[in-house]
Structures are given as structure tokens and as C-alpha cells.
């Protein structure tokens, strides 16, 4: 059956149905206003639970059976265990052994360790993934081998989809570094500490059935209750949630790559000169190589001027906690932790607070934190001459990354894409992005080692940057410069088959990914 396609507001051809469910084509930034009510899971009663509050179940398999695991269900997991995750793989090992089929896996992100699931995608235990597909999972999807169509969402889009009932979770499995028998849990202690459990919060509230899995059962109460046991059906203990060294990197390192340092330094200088950062500003930081280096240069700017960052959002590293300690940052609102120092800080510093993804990123809510952010620096795989961005596919057409918080952060007051102008001969500035993930109107500045391009819509920044001595060029000039060095690349070829849909933050379909042809 050939999909019926329509051209969405961004000019991309998208279907009206994905996996048999109707979807809404992208209508523009802020244009689609939802109607109706939030989704709600079935009502529980405490009469059906043990009066002593002990929900410990003998094994994950028993817990899954108790949850009524059957064909076609949706299973959600969070990604705080990152590349050290044993739990998600274990769920599908069990499902496979039980002969269960057509499960939808709904992770908040996937990692290379989840390549373990490829055989289950091949044999139909898992019909498709809605989340992120990295590396070999992405390649598998791009080759058209997934049984159904994958769906990619941003972190905020994932909470919106849960809230709106677009994705109904049958079983949420929450790997918890510390939990009590009632199901109260947090990420702060234990051999598999993850710091926070922000990505699991929404799943726990909306799933029909919730299983907490821990390798660190403590007696009631497990405090603080990052996950409230009131939502939890059963608690399972296992030997190990994952490989600790892959869950949290011991110490995050700033890139030593001189090329990346040039980009970071130029970004920080740009932000200082144009007044994007100032005393009391709000910033979002990431753990990518360039982002960390930018954070370190910003730290120096804050110190030199005697300024403070009011609040730093985002993935936390020792570079942010260092600012908290020396007073150049007042608060950290933490959605994800990247190193052991950040876990220490969360445990000890009252100004370092976990937040939920729903509270900061959900577009269908009563306000949007992301809009308070003065400066965010992000990466991309491609940016086109209209400033549209791609983060999921490479220029050769293969799906290789998830969206993460990227789309959500575009709503910051100043969105800066900081990246090398070309990587291994592949230019990042293109005529048209292979896959549209973020509309150009939300992307303000591109910083590369060979120059800075400012979105013509930002006449204020174009004015402010004058006299800075920074190498400001047009995006076309940057593109031509890269092509003079690398050559103009050919385009990948695709079949008509849609292998993945890209959701915008409001649940509408902004683009699709097609199967790569045998090039």
C-alpha cells in the first residue's frame, strides 16, 4: 500500500498515517494548538496491593508476566544508564523467550549497547522503535529492515506524546539506582548511580503498569523520592543494572582538539561581544566536546567580568558544578548527569536541583522553560542555507542519531549551532538538509572554525557584531568555502519507502526518513 503524502508547512512530503494511526502534518512554529484532554492511565486501588507496602517481585520475568506482557504492547525505558544499560536488553530477552511478538520499544534514547536488540527487530519480537536510533540501529532502520515505521521525537516531544495519549505505555520499566520495596526511587546512590531519573518521571505517571528494577534495595523510605512509589506496581532486584563505567564517565574531559577549541572560543567571544551572555543570564549546557569547551570559556568570561549565571540547565558535568562552587553560577537545574562529580554535587549542594523533562520541555504545557534560556549551543549533522537543521541523518542518508533535547532547545533566545565546517571531507552546510529536524527561523547563529554566519532574521545580532573583528560571513560564503576545499558532494539516493517519521515538538510530522537505495 502506497502512503498518501501531503506537503507540510515546511515543504516536506509527509504521510497522514503512520503505522495505521493518523498523524498531523507540521503546520509551522506555534501553529498547531491541540484540543481535548490529557491522556490518563486506568484508575488503581491500594486495596489490590500488599498492605505492608512490599511490592518486591521475585524476578523481572514475573513482574512482566504480572503486568500482563503480551503481543503488541508498548514498553518504555529511560536512558539514564546510557551505554551501560543491561535492563532494556533483559526485558526483550525475556519477551523473546516467552514468544511475545510485535512489541513497540519506547526508550527515551538508545545507545550502542542496544545493538543487542537487532535480532529481536529482525525476528519480530520488536516491531519498531519510537525514540532514537543510533549507530547500527539507525543503519538497520535506514536499510528498511524494521517491521514498522520508526518514530523519532525530541525529549520534550516524548513527554508531549505521553501526555497527549499519542503513545500509551503499557509497561514502564524503570531502572533505579536506589529504591525501597514500595517503589520510591532515586538515582543518587548505589553502584549504578545516575544522579537523576528525570526521563522516567513522565512514564511512571502515565503508564498502565510500572516496574521498578534496582540493584540497590534500601528500606523504606528511599529519599529523596525522585520517583514516587505510589505509581509503582512492582519492584524487582537484580545483581547489576549495568556497567558502571559506561553509565557515568568518571571524569568528563574538555576536548583537546584545537579545531574544536577554536570554535568554542569564537562562540564565547561572539556571545560576550553581542551581549548574549551577561550578569544574570540563563544558559543551557551540554556534554558534547564543543559545548564543554564553550562552558569553560564562558566560565572565564563570567570570572573576568565578575558576573554570575543565574541558572544553568541541562546535562551536568564538573564544569558546571565548578561554577556553582566558585559562585559564577547560582543554580543548576539538572535533567541528566554525565560525571561522578555531578552526582556528588547533587547529593551535597542545595542549589543543584533535578528537574523533570515535562517541566522544562513539554510544548503542550502552560509555558516553556526553554524560551527563558539566553544561550544554547548545539551541534548538527547538517545546516542548510535557510538555516534549517538536521540532527538525525548524515549527508549520506543514514539515520545515525536521536533528536535528544535539540528541538526543544531551539526555543532559546539565542540558538547557536557550533560545529566544524566539514568533517572527513563532508561539508555540513548544504543547499537543503537531508532530513528537516528544526526550522531555520529558530536557528540564529552558525559558528564554525572558518567563520560565523548569522541568520538574516537576526538583524539585531548582525548590527551588534559590527566592529568585533569576528569573521562574520554569509551562510552561502561558508558553504562555498567548504565546497572549495572538499568538492561538491553528490546526493544519496533513496527508495520511496518511509522508514522513520520525525516529529516536531508539538507532535506534528515535520519530515520523514526514507530507505537508502543501494548506492
Amino acid at each position: 500500500m502506497k502512503d498518501k503524502l501531503v506537503k507540510n508547512e515546511a515543504g516536506r512530503w509527509v504521510p497522514l498515517e503512520i503505522n495505521g494511526e493518523p498523524v498531523i502534518p507540521y503546520q509551522g512554529v506555534g501553529k498547531y494548538i491541540p484540543l481535548g484532554n490529557k491522556y490518563a492511565p486506568p484508575l488503581p486501588s491500594c486495596a489490590l496491593f500488599p498492605s505492608d507496602g512490599n511490592k518486591v517481585t521475585t524476578s523481572l520475568k514475573d513482574a512482566l508476566v504480572k503486568a500482563g506482557l503480551c503481543d503488541g504492547m508498548t514498553i518504555s525505558t529511560h536512558h539514564h544508564l546510557r551505554d551501560g544499560d543491561f535492563v532494556a536488553n533483559r526485558i526483550f530477552d525475556i519477551a523473546h523467550d516467552m514468544g511475545i511478538r510485535n512489541l513497540r520499544w519506547f526508550p527515551s534514547a538508545s545507545f550502542p549497547c542496544h545493538n543487542h536488540l537487532i535480532p529481536y527487530l529482525e525476528d519480530g519480537t520488536i516491531s519498531h522503535i519510537e525514540g532514537s536510533m543510533n549507530g547500527p540501529l539507525g543503519e538497520f532502520t535506514s536499510q528498511g529492515r524494521m517491521k514498522k515505521t520508526a518514530v523519532l521525537r525530541s525529549h520534550g516531544g516524548r513527554t508531549q506524546a505521553i501526555q497527549d495519549g499519542e503513545v500509551k505505555i503499557d509497561i514502564a520499566v524503570v531502572a533505579a539506582p536506589a529504591a525501597d520495596p514500595f517503589g520510591n526511587a532515586n538515582g543518587l546512590t548505589g553502584p549504578s548511580a545516575t544522579g537523576v531519573l528525570s526521563y522516567a518521571d513522565m512514564d511512571v505517571r502515565y503508564a498502565t503498569h510500572v516496574i521498578v528494577v534496582t540493584d540497590n534495595l534500601v528500606s523504606f523510605p528511599c529519599l529523596p523520592m525522585q520517583i514516587e512509589g505510589n505509581y509503582v506496581d512492582s519492584v524487582v532486584t537484580v545483581d547489576k543494572l549495568g556497567l558502571p563505567e559506561k553509565i557515568i564517565g568518571g571524569t568528563t574531559q574538555i576536548t583537546r582538539s584545537p579545531d574544536r577549541l577554536i570554535i568554542a572560543e569564537m562562540t564565547a567571544r561572539f556571545c560576550e561581544y553581542t551581549g548574549i551572555i551577561y550578569d544574570g543570564c540563563v544558559v543551557q549546557a551540554g556534554a558534547g566536546g564543543i559545548s564543554l569547551a564553550i562552558a569553560e570559556y564562558m566560565h572565564q568570561i563570567m570570572k573576568r567580568n565578575g558576573w554570575k549565571i543565574r541558572v544553568g540547565f541541562g546535562g551536568t558535568t564538573r564544569f558546571m558544578t565548578g561554577m556553582l562552587l566558585d559562585g559564577t553560577m547560582e543554580y543548576i537545574l539538572d535533567g541528566q548527569v554525565f560525571d561522578t562529580e555531578s552526582i556528588r554535587s547533587l547529593n551535597e549542594n542545595r542549589n543543584h536541583i533535578p528537574f523533570t523533562i515535562n517541566n522544562i520541555y513539554n510544548y503542550h504545557s502552560k509555558g516553556n522553560f526553554a524560551q527563558f534560556i539566553d544561550m544554547v549551543s548545539l551541534g548538527a549533522t547538517e545546516i542548510d542555507v535557510h538555516f534549517n537543521g538536521n540532527v538525525v541523518t548524515h549527508s549520506d542518508g543514514l539515520l545515525l542519531h536521536g533528536i535528544g533535547g535539540w528541538q526543544n532547545c531551539l526555543f532559546a533566545k539565542n540558538t547557536i549551532i557550533a560545529l566544524p565546517l566539514f568533517r572527513d571531507r563532508i561539508p555540513v552546510i548544504v543547499d537543503e538538509v537531508t532530513t528537516l529536524c528544526g526550522p531555520g527561523e529558530l536557528i540564529d547563529v552558525i559558528v564554525t572554525e572558518r567563520g560565523i554566519a548569522i541568520n538574516p532574521l537576526r538583524t539585531d545580532l548582525l548590527e551588534k557584531v559590527k566592529g568585533s573583528g569576528l569573521p562574520v560571513k554569509t551562510i552561502h560564503e561558508l558553504k562555498e568555502e567548504a565546497e572549495a576545499i572538499c568538492g561538491k558532494p553528490d546526493k544519496p539516493r533513496f527508495t520511496d519507502k518511509i522508514v522513520a517519521a520525525i516529529k516536531w515538538v508539538d507532535g506534528t510530522v515535520i519530515d520523514v526518513v526514507r530507505q537508502v537505495a543501494d548506492n
Partner: protein, 401 residues
């Protein structure tokens, strides 16, 4: 017979490996593996044919394992592999970037010179962005003996087609006589300066100078020389080396080899090389050229580098070598004129100009008489301060007002 060139393996980037086997018949048969195959497979295929056919090699099996090599690097690999099995006097030259061909002044500032191993294209691509005064494409110690020939093609092509963003272009050739063969590859290209390693005599400098004159297609174009003194004998002959040719613009010292040669251990304080460095500064100044210090090899430790560079400037050196881009900013900061130095130079220059205007032969600052070398040095300080944005070129107006 198979000719090979380049690098392959999981950690290789921006480079490629090429193997060429000439055949009796069958045309050019390619096997191309590349991370960029979808985007650049056709370009790579075309380049292979273009290079082979330019040498008249019509039948061959060509294997390319590419990790995102830029065209100039791939062409160098192809030519190096081809010439092992199909000797030809011709060259395959990538287009020359007009911005790379520019002359440099004899006394231009040479605070920093960044060493790049001549067989690693990856490090060359962005080298011009780091702001070093000079970039050295090294054919000598950083290139393994088995890679010397590969490096000649790569360095030649980089000089022509890789944008070095205005840095002074330098090549360190091998010790003679191999170094004289290196010159054949680089002299016709955009190039400003040749470093002569382990130099111990004026005759070596003359041999290099003569060979350059033979190879230089445009005799009016200057190619400067910077001999590197790396031995006890070299130090003793520093002045004759420095004055061996009018093209010698600077004298550098290489302390790793020098300390080994005198049987000492190299320390960051540098007491063991104090005599040699002082002698070198003296010889260079006597010959009217720039004394340039060695590299500092602990590239992680920028604080120690700062201390070393500060002492180096105090001894009279005008610059240092860099082995990592992170060293450049620190070295510039240390060799740039300091605030006090600029303030003093301004006073001297103003006194000098006032005396000139009034037609007075004797210059005085307060009660102190000032002689010509002091004025000359002050003028140089002002020039460097202006060039590096430390002093507004209109300082006279604001200072007088």
C-alpha cells in the same frame, strides 16, 4: 609489483591508503572503500583516472581505502604509489591557491612557528587557523624513514592547495644531502623559508642556497633560510653560519639534540644550554638576523611554557617553535612587547622624532642620552605592538593631546 602510499586503519582520518598494480591490459580497475563513498565515490573514481592517465598509466588495478582525504592529499598518495612502480619525470600538481603565494619580509615577526609532521594531512588542514606566524611542514625528524618519499608529495601538494591563511610557509628539509632532493619538490611551490636542520657549517647553508637558486623559477622571489643549530660544533660556528648567505634571516637552536651532543640533560630552567643560547643570540645579532629559540616539548603544561618563553625573550630571542597549537597563544603573549616596554618605547621614539625635527644630533630622554641601537629597538617594539593590536597606530595623536 605493487606501489603503496598513505595510511589506513580505524584511527586514520582525512587520509587514505592507495595501492597501485600496473597491468598489461584491462584498463583502470578500481576498488574504492570510503566512508564518504555515497557523497564522493564518483569524485574519487575520477581523480584516480585523472592521475593515472596524466602519467600515461592506462592499465592498472587501484585500491583506495579512504577516510575522508581531501583531493590534494589523495592525489599525493596516488602519485607516490604510482611512482614506485611506474617511474615518470612528470608531476601531478593540484591547483595552486593564489593566497598561499605571497612574499614575506626579511624581518617579519617570527614569534611562533608550528611544526607539522609532513606525512599527516589531517594536521595540515586547519593549521592556518591557529594564528601561528609561521607553519613548518616537516620532512625531517617527525617523518619515519619509510615515509620520507610519501611526505615529499604530500608537503608539495599541501603548499599548493591547502589554505594556510597567511602564515609564513616553511619547510624543514632533511639533513644534507637528502635535503637537497627535498628542495626539488618544494622550491617551485608557494614557500617562504627553508629550515636547515643540524647545521654545522656555512658550506651547508651555501649548498642549500645554491640549489634553491637553481630550482627557483623566479629569481626575484626570495626564499629565506633558517639554519637550526643542534650541536656543540654548530654553536661554535654560529656566526659563520648566520652570515653564510644574505638569505639567512634567522638562526634557531634545537635543544634536544644539542643537550645530547654536549652530554647534558635538558631541563626547563635551561642552565645546561645557557651558553649555547646566549652564543646563538649573540651570533644572530652580530649577523643582523633574528635569534629563535627551540621548541618546548611539554605541550600539556602551558604554565611552564610561559615561564620558559618569558626567560627566552629576556635572553634576546624573538620567537620559539611550537609542537601543539595550544602553545601559540602563550608564546605570542610572552614575545609580544609588554605594557612597560611599549610605554618606554613610545617615549624614546617621541624623543627621537622631536630631535630629528629640531635637527639635533643628540637624543636625550630626561637627563639620559639615547644611542642609535636603543632607538632602533624602540622602533621595532612600536612596530610589533602596532602589528599585534597592542597599540593604536594613531598613538602619537592621542599621546600628544
Amino acid at each position: 609489483m605493487e606501489g603503496t602510499s598513505g595510511n589506513r586503519g580505524p584511527s586514520v582520518r582525512s587520509d587514505c591508503y592507495v595501492a597501485i598494480t600496473p597491468m598489461a591490459a584491462g584498463g583502470i580497475v578500481t576498488e574504492i572503500k570510503s566512508k564518504t563513498r555515497v557523497l564522493f565515490g564518483r569524485h574519487i573514481e575520477n581523480l584516480v583516472r585523472e592521475v593515472l592517465l596524466s602519467f600515461g598509466l592506462e592499465h592498472a588495478r587501484v585500491e583506495v581505502e579512504d577516510a575522508g582525504a581531501l583531493p590534494w592529499a589523495m592525489a599525493a598518495r596516488l602519485e607516490a604509489a604510482l611512482k614506485q612502480v611506474f617511474p615518470a619525470p612528470k608531476e601531478f600538481l593540484p591547483p595552486e591557491l593564489p593566497q598561499n603565494r605571497r612574499e614575506t619580509a626579511r624581518d617579519r615577526q617570527r614569534r611562533s612557528r608550528l611544526y607539522l609532521p609532513g606525512d599527516q594531512p589531517k594536521l595540515m588542514i586547519n593549521a592556518g587557523l591557529y594564528g601561528a606566524d609561521g607553519i613548518i611542514l616537516d620532512l625531517e625528524d617527525s617523518v619515519a624513514p619509510s615515509r620520507k618519499e610519501d611526505a615529499r608529495y604530500l608537503v608539495r601538494n599541501a603548499l599548493r592547495n591547502n589554505d594556510f591563511h597567511g602564515a609564513e610557509l616553511m619547510v624543514r628539509i632533511n639533513q644534507l644531502p637528502d635535503g637537497l632532493e627535498d628542495l626539488r619538490f618544494v622550491v617551485p611551490q608557494p614557500l617562504n623559508l627553508i629550515l636547515i636542520p643540524k647545521c654545522e657549517s656555512a658550506s651547508e647553508v651555501k649548498a642549500v642556497d645554491d640549489r634553491i637558486a637553481e630550482l627557483n623559477p623566479d629569481p626575484s622571489r626570495k626564499i629565506w633560510l633558517m639554519p637550526i643549530i643542534e650541536s656543540a660544533l654548530g654553536v661554535l660556528r654560529a656566526f659563520e653560519i648566520a652570515s653564510a648567505s644574505e638569505n639567512v634571516v634567522a638562526l634557531a637552536i634545537g635543544l634536544e639534540d644539542y643537550t645530547a651532543d654536549i652530554g647534558a640533560e635538558r631541563s626547563s630552567e635551561g642552565l645546561e644550554s645557557f651558553y649555547a643560547r646566549s652564543a646563538l643570540v649573540n651570533a644572530a645579532r652580530a649577523a643582523g638576523i633574528q635569534p629563535i629559540d627551540s621548541v618546548f616539548s611539554g605541550f600539556e603544561n602551558l604554565d611552564e611554557l610561559r615561564a620558559v618563553a618569558t626567560r627566552s625573550k629576556a635572553m634576546g630571542f624573538e620567537g620559539m617553535g611550537c609542537i601543539h597549537p595550544a602553545q601559540i597563544a602563550v608564546i605570542h603573549e610572552c614575545f609580544n612587547p609588554g605594557e612597560k616596554e611599549i610605554a618606554k618605547a613610545k617615549k624614546i621614539v617621541m624623543a627621537f622624532e622631536a630631535a630629528e625635527k629640531a635637527g639635533i644630533g643628540v637624543i636625550a630622554l630626561g637627563s639620559k642620552m639615547i644611542d642609535a641601537p636603543v632607538v632602533k629597538r624602540a622602533l621595532r617594539t612600536i612596530l610589533l605592538a602596532e602589528q599585534n593590536g597592542l597599540l593604536n597606530p594613531k598613538w602619537r595623536e592621542s599621546d600628544e593631546g
